[in-house]
């Protein structure tokens, strides 16, 4: 019997360290959550152009959740989070409470705060988006303010969409969001851009190389406050001159050279 599931979604497979850290943080505040995600626990969103296929995927995932016995589903991906409410729960019913990871940690901040013992220097601006029903725009600033040394700066800019993924396919929209966020950082004197979601992290880490700012995810910053070691390999690969060399031949061979060449390297080498 599983007490809780940490449903990290599909595209978080790029960020294993965030899954590890999130799971560790949940355990530290009393929630034993089993990570689950990837293609076998999909909300159906990637196949939404074919709703019947998306429905089949979502139904399998919901049935898996309902049969797991878990009393809580802790979400990460905002697409999954909204589909859980709007389609999966509406058609399959829900046997578990659900909350985003940031909400779950914020609700347990009395247990979390004493664990944040390390000072982390940073004047941070958070890449906030409108359209979020996950509660992150309230929870993430609150969590970061618990970290000694971190100054969370305020700026009214909020990017359209609920995360950067939606903007990437609309000509001009992601570039505008990046420019507006950089302008907000300059206006507030921020030295660190904090991403909330994986797709935003994926799109914005390149600014670290091109604009000389620090880009971290909010989970990374919390981890630093807790003294937890981690490596943001996706950022290292994305900002490397030679991602193939940065990953290393042995790991590429183990993951499947053809798949890495066809599916991974083009993403890591696209324009920043």
């Amino acid at each position: 019997m599983t007490d809780a599931l940490f449903w990290y979604g599909c595209n978080m497979t790029r960020h294993a360290e965030i899954i590890r850290l999130g799971t560790h943080m949940l355990a530290a505040v009393g929630v034993a959550a089993a990570p689950t995600g990837g293609p076998s626990a999909c909300c159906g969103s990637p196949k939404e152009s074919s709703p019947r296929i998306a429905e089949g995927m979502a139904n399998r995932t919901m049935q898996r959740f309902n049969q797991s016995g878990a009393s809580q589903v802790i979400t990460w991906c905002p697409t999954c989070h909204m589909n859980l409410d709007d389609f999966m729960g509406a058609t399959q019913g829900k046997q578990a409470e659900s909350a985003h990871l940031a909400q779950a940690l914020w609700q347990r901040r009395e247990a979390l705060a004493p664990l944040l013992t390390q000072t982390v220097a940073g004047r941070v601006l958070i890449d906030m988006h409108i359209g979020n029903r996950t509660g992150v725009n309230e929870a993430v600033p609150g969590l970061l303010r618990l970290i000694p040394g971190v100054t969370v700066l305020e700026h009214p800019y909020r990017a359209p969409s609920y995360m950067c993924f939606g903007l990437a396919s609309i000509p001009g929209a992601l570039a505008d969001a990046k420019a507006n966020m950089l302008a907000a950082m300059a206006a507030t004197g921020a030295d660190t851009l904090v991403t909330i979601f994986h797709s935003c992290h994926r799109e914005l880490v390149g600014l670290e190389r091109t604009h000389g700012i620090r880009v971290v995810n909010w989970v990374h910053l919390l981890a630093e406050g807790m003294g937890l070691a981690y490596q943001d390999e996706y950022k290292a690969w994305r900002n490397s001159d030679d991602p193939e060399a940065a990953i290393g031949a042995e790991r590429i061979a183990a993951a499947g050279e053809e798949a890495v060449r066809k599916l991974v390297l083009p993403e890591l080498t696209r324009p920043r």
């Binding site: 497979t13 399959q92 046997q95 359209p160 990953i247 183990a254």
Partner: protein
């Protein structure tokens, strides 16, 4: 809460029933006032919607929802919706225009009015990254 008890009961038998019920509700409630169009931050990225009538564009979206083609502004708006959700509080009739646009997109992609998203490699890519970043144990337990 006991084992097997539902936190949320299903409101619809399946997605088709959900779409049918929500579409009927929206078509009955929407007055095409255009408040949702005016509130949307993505209109700036829809060339065909520049200078378009808000009310006419909403009527175009309602036509797409019902299987029609709509006009260029409506098709562009449906395609450009990124679920910013500002339309929801803007709507005086509680239509949930964000869901309206999403359901219209479902229909448009099913009948070819809008192209389907190319997600052929999405799952293979997620698996490839997992093989790079997850340990063997994590691959067994997390995927």
């Amino acid at each position: 809460m006991g084992p097997g008890e539902r936190v949320v009961a299903p409101r619809h038998a399946d997605w088709a029933a959900l779409r049918e019920a929500e579409s009927a509700r929206m078509l009955a409630a929407c007055t095409a006032c255009g408040a949702c169009f005016a509130a949307c931050p993505m209109i700036a990225y829809v060339p065909a919607a520049q200078g378009a009538s808000a009310s006419a564009t909403v009527r175009g979206v309602l036509a797409i929802l019902q299987g029609g083609e709509g006009d260029a502004a409506a098709r562009g708006w449906v395609a450009a919706c990124t679920r910013s959700a500002l339309c929801i509080p803007a709507c005086p009739e509680a239509v949930d225009p964000m869901l309206l646009l999403r359901l219209a997109k479902f229909t448009a992609q099913e009948n070819g009015t809008l192209p389907q998203r190319d997600a052929r490699d999405a799952m293979s890519r997620a698996k490839a990254f997992a093989r790079l970043g997850f340990s063997e144990t994590e691959q067994k337990e997390w995927l």
